[in-house]
């Protein structure tokens, strides 16, 4: 499993956090996701055969947040 940090802009409260955690958590190959309102990011542990940094970033972007890959 791999781990990645994705910057997420636009969350304002805990329900935003939960929406992203639930939505991304349901995707294939996600072992764990932890979203932080304070740090404005999502830490995702995933199976690299099923997801890539780009697919994860896109999934959060598609939900209406500004998601960028931290380097």
């Amino acid at each position: 499993a791999k781990s990645i940090v994705i910057s997420v802009e636009g969350m304002t409260c805990n329900s935003c956090v939960q929406t992203i955690e639930q939505h991304v958590g349901k995707m294939n190959g996600i072992h764990n996701i932890e979203v932080s309102l304070e740090d404005k990011n999502a830490v995702v542990i995933y199976d690299s055969k099923l997801q890539t940094p780009a697919t994860l970033q896109e999934a959060i972007y598609d939900m209406g947040f500004d998601a960028t890959l931290a380097d």
């Binding site: 636009g10 969350m11 304002t12 409260c13 329900s15 935003c16 929406t19 992203i20 639930q22 939505h23 598609d62 939900m63 209406g64 947040f65 500004d66």
Partner: protein, 77 residues
């Protein structure tokens, strides 16, 4: 095929709880394009005037991950 009548807006329920939610709705609709809309956060309603059909609009709103449903047409004021 459901096209709707001219001068009618489509009203949707979107389970928004905060400004982050309504901003997310705003972003997904802007990215779709070809829409004019009003968001009523307290009443969890989104009213859309668009060339897109109801299915496309519903799919787009559902991208936010929020509970979403179509309420019906609303006469334009």
């Amino acid at each position: 095929l459901f096209l709707g009548s001219p001068g009618q807006k489509h009203e949707f329920f979107v389970d928004m709880t905060c400004e982050g939610c309504s901003n997310a709705v705003t972003r997904v609709l802007h990215r779709l394009g070809g829409v004019q809309f009003d968001i009523d956060l307290p009443n969890k309603k989104v009213c859309i005037d668009s060339e897109h059909n109801v299915d496309t609009l519903l799919e787009t709103l559902k991208k936010t991950g929020k509970n979403t449903s179509y309420l019906g047409e609303k006469s334009a004021q």
